[in-house]
Amino acid sequence: MVLELKNITKNFGGISALTDVSFKINKGEIFGLIGPNGAGKTTMFNVITNMFLPTSGEISFHGEKISGIKPHKITDKGICRTFQNIRLFSQMSVLENVLVGGHCRSNSGVLRSVFRTKSQRKEEANTHKVATELLELVGLSNYEDVIAENLAYGQQRRLEIARALASNPSLLLLDEPAAGMNETETENLFELIKKVQQRGVTVLLIEHDMPFVMKLCDRIAVLNFGKKLAEGTPEEIQNNQEVIEAYLGSEEDDQIA
């Protein structure tokens, strides 16, 4: 088991964004988190990466309790994320973005950097090697020196994935990776996420593109109004009455309308 969420509740003032949500993610699987807008999916990501502290509940990662430690330490432990509204370092080059991703896997400080000791040069060469490999993986090898903000939208999303992978995570969180992509781009993304899985990385993703989610994910959890509605394989979710109601509205709702 990679990640286990136990009874997570998160309140913002009087509003409950997440209520008593629990699920487990197994090693090597692609786990989908879906739900209507405002269901609390991104809040869940922020809770997992400790950007927000949960009001109650417990998160364990590889069996170790991680609630309450700093966000940068979470990355160090092996959880890295992308953002719904792309947050690249927009003035940096594509390569530099990925190099920053390797930050927590290196440790040269000021003096070693300035005097370029042997260990620092070795470390820097290694960070570069990993970055070039990852850019090849996401298909951005020819864009190394391009400034990130000049990339096309789909490329920016892929760069975010490369940057996150540079921190060598065992769990990758993707927040709507297919948002705003056309069909070809979505297909490429599908291949990319499969490749990431083959590298032994467990993936947790939020996505609104249902055919994409159903095709890609091994298991899915559905959130609605901060509560977990259902959890299961794509087939189970597709046939779950409550889920259908949450997405399409129930028959009573129709009568009222």
Binding site: H72, R87, Q91, V114
Partner: protein, 326 residues
């Protein structure tokens, strides 16, 4: 020949340029992690007074005084940098400006130590101390055909140039490393940087402290170059002047601060006649820069353009070279 060329006044201005470049780098380095600090005049004052008082009262050698001045300013940098983490943008600018004023008011009012608004005179002069050392070693200015005061100012300038080259080298290398990338990442998107595993608390305090340390270092050098300091040297005007180095020259790259400091030091000297209007001119420059070139004169794309120019020049030189062979 050499003796006629070296005007002590020009040497002195060149020394001020060097000190101002250090101040320019000090604000650049805090800006490179996205923090706008206007407290560098205060840190400069701390460095200057620390070194001046230590060398006057305890007769410490100047270089130890300067190092201690920089360190004390650096410690203040840590103390201010940690609470300042909660602030960003204009709020941080105002808070650090406030800090600078507090420091200045302390210098004015702590008369038993700082002699108040009168200032400290009789600070050991860097040039004259160096001169004493070299003459004791048997050097005579006449050997080079120079007058004593020319040698004094020339030695100060040489020392400062060496210090500046080392500092610029240091920060260019730091910038190109993991540390520099962390600074840049924090500047561009703090939340994303944190998510990528960067300890933003550490790096923000680090860059703030480096800035304070450098400002203190520059202040200590200033004290020993001027041989006289007063609280007015480290007032609000100085804070704005340091800011202008970076805003005018360019805040994205280290060369911006260097260019800004050089240009803004020469400008008032070149325009002696209208020096009374200096601060007015500064204001106009700030407004014009904000309106037309907010990133400053020197930015990344200009540097790239210059690099390409040099490259293509070299290529054509090479081309004519082969033609001659034919």
């Amino acid at each position: 020949m050499l003796g006629e060329l070296l005007n002590p006044y020009h040497l002195q201005i060149a020394s001020f340029i060097m000190i101002n470049i250090i101040l320019g780098i000090s604000i650049y380095i805090t800006l490179s992690s996205g923090q706008l600090s206007l407290g560098n005049a205060g840190f400069m004052g701390i460095g200057a007074y620390t070194s001046a008082l230590l060398t006057i009262h305890f007769e410490l050698p100047i270089f130890i005084g300067v190092i201690l001045g920089a360190l004390v300013a650096g410690i203040f940098g840590i103390l201010i940098g940690i609470p300042a983490l909660r602030l960003s943008g204009v709020y941080l600018a105002i808070a650090t400006l406030g800090f600078g004023e507090v420091i200045r008011v302390i210098f004015v009012n702590w008369e038993s130590v700082t002699q108040g608004a009168v200032g400290l005179s009789g600070v050991p002069h860097l040039g004259r101390e160096l001169f004493k050392t070299v003459t004791a070693m048997g050097f005579e200015p006449e050997m080079l055909g120079l007058r004593n005061n020319q040698v004094v100012y020339l030695m100060v300038l040489t020392l400062l140039v060496v210090i500046n080259i080392l500092l610029i080298w240091f920060f260019i290398r730091q910038n190109k490393s993991r540390v520099g990338r962390a600074f840049a990442a924090i500047k561009m998107d703090e939340k994303a940087a944190e998510s990528m595993g960067i300890n933003i608390t550490y790096y923000k305090v680090l860059s703030f402290t480096q800035g304070a340390l450098l400002a203190g270092f520059a202040g200590a050098l200033y004290a020993h170059v001027m041989a006289y300091i007063s609280p007015a040297d480290f007032a609000y005007h100085r804070a704005i002047e340091i800011l202008i180095f970076s805003v005018f020259g360019g805040s994205e790259v280290i060369w911006g601060a260097i260019f800004g400091a050089t240009f803004m030091t020469i400008l008032p000297e070149a325009l002696r006649v209208i020096s009374e209007y200096r601060y007015m001119i500064y204001g106009v420059i700030l407004i014009l820069m904000m309106a037309f070139r907010p990133q400053g004169i020197i930015d990344v794309s200009l540097l790239k353009w210059i690099k390409n120019m040099i490259k293509s020049r070299r290529r054509t030189d090479h081309g004519t070279g082969t033609k001659k062979h034919n």
